[in-house]
Symmetry: C2
Subunit: 228 residues, 2 copies
Amino acid sequence: MSKTIEFQGVAPRASLGDMVHQQIVEALVSGQFSGGEELNEVSLASQFHVSRTPVREALRRLASEGLVINQRNRQTTVVEMSRRDVIETYEVRRILEASAARLAVEQVEPRQLADLRTLAAAAIPPASSDWGQGERRFDEELHRVIADSCGNRKLQQEIQRYKNLVRFVRSRVARSTQRLAQGHAEHLRILDALERRNGAQAEAEMSAHIASALQCVLEDLPLLGRTP
Amino acid sequence: MSKTIEFQGVAPRASLGDMVHQQIVEALVSGQFSGGEELNEVSLASQFHVSRTPVREALRRLASEGLVINQRNRQTTVVEMSRRDVIETYEVRRILEASAARLAVEQVEPRQLADLRTLAAAAIPPASSDWGQGERRFDEELHRVIADSCGNRKLQQEIQRYKNLVRFVRSRVARSTQRLAQGHAEHLRILDALERRNGAQAEAEMSAHIASALQCVLEDLPLLGRTP
DNA sequence: CGCTTGTGTACTGTATACACTTTGAGGCAG
DNA sequence: CTGCCTCAAAGTGTATACAGTACACAAGCG
């Protein structure tokens, strides 16, 4: 294994541990490690040009976030998600984000909804060749706005925690154009419900959306796990 | 500050960091620290007769669990929960445990329900002088069985994470006998729903139960935060 | 031939030393 | 008296040394 990860633009006042953590998260959620792969503290330390201390800190934090497994006196390994793990992860995400959507109808600003509409308009398939890019942007923003405007910072935090796990899973499966289009339609339904300030509907649409995303992921699932 | 915390019965193969973590959690959720209190790495290390390394590990973990606040180059402080924080925490807990209750009706074993009935019978107020003790036991077991039998280990994990936060809050308010009796009634309604395998009802009863618990906590709330 | 047992190696766990940051007290000028 | 500067003290951040453990592999034994 001779992967090279270098520091990119990082916050100036972050500790080395934070920076290492952020870098490894990026590597994990962009699919640069395969499930079960071992993360050696010493080699990570030399890759980042820091000592083992910040690396250990980052690895413990990653373990608490569920991205790696940390057993005493064993090398830290990248988590291997079984089919069941993926289902469970998406189920928790569904519970959290559906609740957030229900709560968000109370607090979301008209301005934010208008901005989302603009993003949505730039992502109408197959209006342009890069509507897929726009849809990913719309996707990202819609989920972010809902989490941010649910009015519950703890809930927002939990959703954020799960986002990395979901990105980790998603980096291991291909998102088809067809799925993107389906997702776009679902996102529009969620946005509609928000605009109507209909909490129950927003909750139901978000719930259906995440269930549907899970189905698509499951179709590709054999790709998950250790790839020797 | 001359608190003395010593190791109690601990798992033999746990690391020092794990043991320190466990000890501090116990101290926190049993109200031995007031909100905003500073946790000094050096003095904790000497109290536990270990070096700063395991202590730092424990403190970082506690921070990720929301029990302490960890700012760069600042002393770690015990979290101060505002009224809003308490509400938000209970709201997330409500979302998680209500969903778990809904799922648990599918998986919970008749045997477990029977055991819960037995516990419930030993906690009928005001049947005996120590029914309160029995009710606390029933409470603990009911919530544990539901989390364990929801069939989703990730969800169970999240509930576990929140349990410590809730215990932290609860250690700062008095649980009246009246509240215990009310809780007993609510617990019975949840158990009924489980026995009837009625998921929607179990979810609703659990949701109402946690909302009601929040109300009681809020009444005592001025006690929270720094106590000089 | 297989099982056990020693032993080396490559890690992680812990302690400790040192560097850097923050903070507050005290002195000095205005 | 007040505001600012300096500097020491106390704490955390990081590097590093050493201790302990698990695993692989080979030698010895049945």
